[in-house]
Subunit: 455 residues, 4 copies
């Protein structure tokens, strides 16, 4: 409904030394904290009564899923998943964790990320006798693992992962063992935390905060942590590469209260706003954010420029995913339903409007129109990221290049298209200056330099 | 909740020459007619827009499933399934049809029946690299099929089925082809019918009646009908055996308005009642059925004996599967909620009470008690089947031998246990006299003569 | 969907000496037993924590209502209601029991029946200042009661009821008192039963059976039983009239295992079937019922005539109220979905088909057609009631006279209309011969003799 | 769950000259915009086919209610309501609009506000013969209206309202007329807007924005606008009083993009923050808001003080009303689930934390603790309102005085209680300086000066 790129899921897991009556509640809370990473379905697996059980529901963690969670059961290991519907179908059959009975035992898998060569790998495996029942990429990993002849599960898994080229952070549950995995470029985030008697793993650290786990560190690229009965052991994939962490996690995906890749999301976004202020060439009277995606960068812009911040657009948080437009006419209300201008802030002003990125430009066009109708004298759009010119194949849901406005128009043309008086993007160099270790990031959606061969 | 054996599913399919706006409605109606064969879940697949789509829901065909059926779509092939939860778990993941993407294309499978060596087959396949995601036996067939190296799908399927030893009637959908299959002993029922421009397949002929299809015949043991674009072609499995049709379909499972295995269910049950009357040695004043399982046999008993039939027990049909007892105390009401005696029919009478079979005896015990409390002078139980002494491994859900009352007690002891004045079973020879072709049937649950090696 | 008259509700109540943990469960079970009298909504009130609480849900007693019932609460009084949507709207706002706060305290009311002058009474009360929030007739009674200036509640209620002319059996709950009421003609059924420490009241005695209450007797016309803390006291309305009990309760509405108006429903229906056999002039080979409405009368017909009873139509009980036809085409399937002929019973036969009554004739027409298509040589319809020529205003939901087939056609014309070879109705005199006390009954829908002035 | 006062509902209505296919959609959108004023239930009435129809559902406007809205119907008048559960029970029976059939016709009523003498009025009316079926205050108005002997509806309504002393903004629908009403003190907000061919009425102007209606003005105290077929006519209640507009609408209840009482909510809150900065005596390093209630005031504080604003607490918007804590232990997570600190903003800082008000202090206590655990050096709480020392009886849901922290403790004691280094409240004089027309407001919750006699 709204013109945003989207992450493909949040993952969370816990492994304790002993059974605990809190495990399932904490697992649930961790998933709840990662709700923003995926609202299509929620699922968890846990080890109970010497068996892996899986529960999944469509919709939110606090929706019908809640009613199915066995809060009164004691367990010591579990993994959870919040799913965003990616390029492949939104079919519920793809909801994770998926359970597989194979020659290495029974496992469940929850993944955040994407495998660029998934189609080809899948076809090869099928040709070779494998059967696929879902469209999920994790089913590919299960089949690769199943074909490996090695009774040592840890070795077999490492061998399988080395054949599973892609961008992924994965949690696998095998009986009372939880395994946390990062691809060899470390593209997608995954942090490890410490809790009493065990460890927790989360896509973002705000999930660790919620269960009072201490954030220890990000996993290394290619790291595999086998965690059983309170003991965690790290191994590594072969052929580890220089990191290529997804910069979009800092630009838009992650919550500002999280740390990902060892970087504070809040701090990075403040820096992005400051950079925008530095490169700004327009005189403006007020700075506003497109809430909530532009909030933190707008703060930085204001600080750096000395132009006052204000709240010019109010967001209605009751939309959720349940708002389905009944008629074609209501479609045009879409942005209006979500955002409403605050007239005294807007009227007669030359405005700097801060957002994180421009994808197709459709929402921005409506926002500019809304602000002008509310009396804005000038609307200058600022994006805390460079022009998105290339599709992502590493776990961010982007449209094809044909649909990316910046793949087809320069900033002046974009400004004209969306009705703004100007449009300013950060450059890749600017963005690099906003994080602590710029060389560790992937900027492929801006510059087309993919670290893995793509379609 | 009630002490009955249960079938493991109903299957229904249609294959037309051309797309039709009636196909999905007729598919739905056929499933509706087979609701008594399984109430746990309902599912269908159909070929739409050059793709196999699958929809499934928990519960009844006329329940939430109804809301998901795309009645307005045109299609020319589809298969449907009503599922009874069998020995393996009632987990929704097992709901059929199941869809498999394999090296022979994409197929959906709906099955009625059981594979005695399922566990062993599954373990072998897993050892060999196969991955199982459900507990359903049809997943075994998919894996066997996937391993066969033969580009000719029909030949490959026949080869796969010949390695899939068991009792089954199966419908497979592959694109716009529907394939109807019977195991080589012909244990479970499956009839073929003719409709305008095509064919229909159904576990029982009442489903053909509902869509105004003409009942043509039962499939032969080991027959495989490939039906595509209005043309049906029969092939056969190798090593076909003398038929071993499930006699319990006639005793209890099938609806009396159906023909199964070429035998009228109604007529067979009237004959069973007559036989019971012939072997009866007690003086009785009235004949009543345990509704609805004993209805038709009671009619036959009355006709043969000249003793008047009456309705002594009224059944509440609003129970469905939704009645869950809130307290332990309500458990004892279970039979009462379902059945209530009609006092003027019962009071002061010597009664012949006709039911189809005795499994554990728990429900019968409560019925006898209820009738005695309503004033019955004598209660003589008559079962229109022999003593069930052996578990079924061929698609009927029976308890273990330990729980089968007749595996452990003779009729006198059974009578004592359930509080009846006498209990009379048909003998296997009697039952054979009730059908047209007795040699074609399996009586293993009575005599232990299994045609396929079992666990 | 099917061409039947329908009752307008079942009522059930319990009053105990002391709080009991079984009260709510027994209340629920009593309602469950009266489900056939109304499937539109279910509701109960009970006295808990010194307050009247009301719960109601759309649909079946064993449906969503079940989930709302507080089975673990202890209470000593409660009343329940199963509602059939009558001439006035099916709007949920009319679901009973309704709660009223008025100058005599707080009361809840559950009613079975109808008030012929409801519209006029309602308009008078509104003119006089009363406010109506529902379309239910019980709201009229509440307003009449409220206007009476008498601090003695029992006297005030009797005065109110004497102004509330109509056909009704009512249960009122006022704190820990349950009041059972019958109109002064005793038109609608209501029985009182004894249980440990208290009394139960039920539209039909099968509800008393289910909670193991002993059936004591029907209430008298105009009787009002005030039941509090285990003590029951009878009072009477002024101007009590000779009874005019609804004969349709015996013909069709009540369950055969019930006693209503002191008459066994089963016995009365057997007698009706016998009478039909006596007045029959056609040679027939077999007797079948339209299930379940004609079941018991068919038995009587067979007994009397000596012609064999058989089961020629099988009913699908999975329809419930959830079956909504998706397309106009499926409408014609309506009867088929419910009933299917048993070919070997029908083929080549001259059939006596027994049903309880003919209203519009639409369903019968389809049944005759279905039987003829299944090979019936002759179809002779027999109705265990006279020609329905007049609408009921006393609690049975009948169409207007214009729609009543027998108000407009004689039996020969009816036979032609529905395609039958003949149609035979009982005469009123015949029907009188089927019950113990014929002078106590109302036959107005047959003869137009209304005991209360109607619209 | 969270320690906030709450408004008791939002109301919205439209009256057009002619039927329009947009009316119901616009009615729906207006309600959606007022969702923040009440999430317990949603309801609307509209005039269709010469009849008033009412639909209501539990929960959100975009929840199950959405599915019941007949978007394809043409209508010209309608009113809607979003309900907050107030002191009287959350029972669904109280969901508005309520429909009343009375001697002046059929009307529906939707109200925002409260009647201090409701209990007494209700008891008098009941004594006088009125029947109450709900706990809603609007039922009182209906009864007063019903008792007035005057065939002129407009005069009768004005007479009724003059006896209905309280704080209320009301919408009444009578056939194709919509009537907008404000009490004679003008305590609760209600604005009128113009749309093509008619008028709209809304608790807040953001609802007018959403349907592109032009905000005309607030209703005057005691004003009654009768709006029919595109013509609006104003009348007035007798004995109109100097306005006493609820200041809490500006402090907390209304959305910042709304105008209420002719005052911009945003501007008023910026002023409040500025005043807080002026009276502040503490040195602080950073200003943060408790989101979202303190957002705008924090902006004003930062502007005035020159201390940088930052986002130190992140709010999870996926909570909604569905989050029910499964265990007692999860209760302590309540604040955490909603808010999480942003470490780099908090760590080592002396913080000014801005919120709108302190009621019980329970949430603030947890926020202070959370910030201190995240490293805050000092936490100074600033409230953009005075100490709440008195309960509201005029439509804001406040606890009793016993529970109000400031009724029992001075600021120093409050600071100690919640663990803050200091707590600063605005004084009433300060607050007066934040709005354009301070004399028009009610400050009773701060100073106890009630304009209407209360319990």
């Amino acid at each position: 409904m709204f013109d945003k790129v989207n992450d493909e899921c949040g993952i969370f897991g816990i492994s304790l030394k002993e059974n605990s009556k809190d495990l399932i509640e904490n697992l649930y809370l961790g998933m709840f904290a990662l709700q923003h990473r995926g609202q299509e379905s929620a699922g968890m697996s846990y080890y109970y009564n010497n068996k892996l059980e899986v529960i999944k529901s469509k919709g939110l963690v606090a929706g019908t899923f809640f009613d199915t969670v066995p809060f009164n059961r004691e367990a010591k290991t579990g993994i959870g998943h919040t799913r965003y519907p990616s390029k492949y179908s939104s079919n519920f059959i793809n909801a994770q964790p998926l359970l597989f009975n194979l020659n290495k035992g029974t496992i469940t898998i929850a993944k955040n990320g994407s495998i660029p060569k998934a189609k080809q790998l899948r076809e090869e495996l099928i040709r070779d006798g494998a059967i696929f029942q879902t469209e999920s990429h994790v089913e590919i990993l299960a089949h690769i693992l199943s074909k490996i002849k090695n009774d040592n599960f840890e070795e077999a898994l490492i061998e399988a992962l080395s054949k599973f080229e892609g961008a992924y952070s994965i949690l696998i549950q095998k009986d009372d063992m939880v395994i946390a995995i990062k691809d060899r470029f470390g593209i997608r985030p995954l942090s490890v935390g410490e809790i009493e008697n065990g460890y927790a793993f989360a896509s973002e650290t705000n999930a660790l905060d919620l269960i009072s786990a201490k954030n220890v560190r990000e996993l290394e690229p290619g790291e595999i942590i086998f965690c059983k009965e309170g003991v965690a052991e790290s191994k590594f994939l072969p052929n580890i590469q220089p990191p290529k962490q997804c910069i979009f996690e800092l630009v838009y995906i992650a919550r500002p209260d999280s740390t990902v890749f060892g970087e504070s999301v809040h701090t990075a976004r403040v820096n992005m706003g400051k950079k925008l202020a530095i490169i700004n060439k327009n005189e403006v009277d007020v700075v506003i954010a497109v809430p909530d995606s532009g909030n933190v960068a707008a703060l930085g812009f204001s600080k750096e420029s000395g132009v006052g911040l204000d709240y010019g657009l109010i967001r209605n948080h009751y939309i959720g995913r349940t708002f389905i437009r009944p008629t074609q006419d209501m479609r045009s209300f879409a942005v209006r339903i979500k955002l409403n201008p605050v007239k005294p802030v807007v009227d007669g002003k030359r405005m700097a409007v801060i957002d994180d990125s421009l994808v197709r430009g459709t929402t921005s066009k409506r926002i500019v129109k809304m602000l002008k109708e509310a009396g804005a004298k000038e609307v200058h759009m600022f994006l805390s990221s460079p022009e998105v010119k290339h599709s992502c194949f590493f776990g961010i849901d982007t449209p094809t290049e044909k649909e990316l406005i910046s793949a087809n128009k320069n900033p002046e043309e974009v400004a004209k298209e969306i009705g703004a008086d100007s449009v300013t993007f950060l450059r890749v160099e600017d963005l690099k200056g906003c994080v602590k270790e710029p060389d560790k990031f992937c900027f492929a959606c801006f510059d087309g330099n993919y670290c893995i061969e793509v379609e």
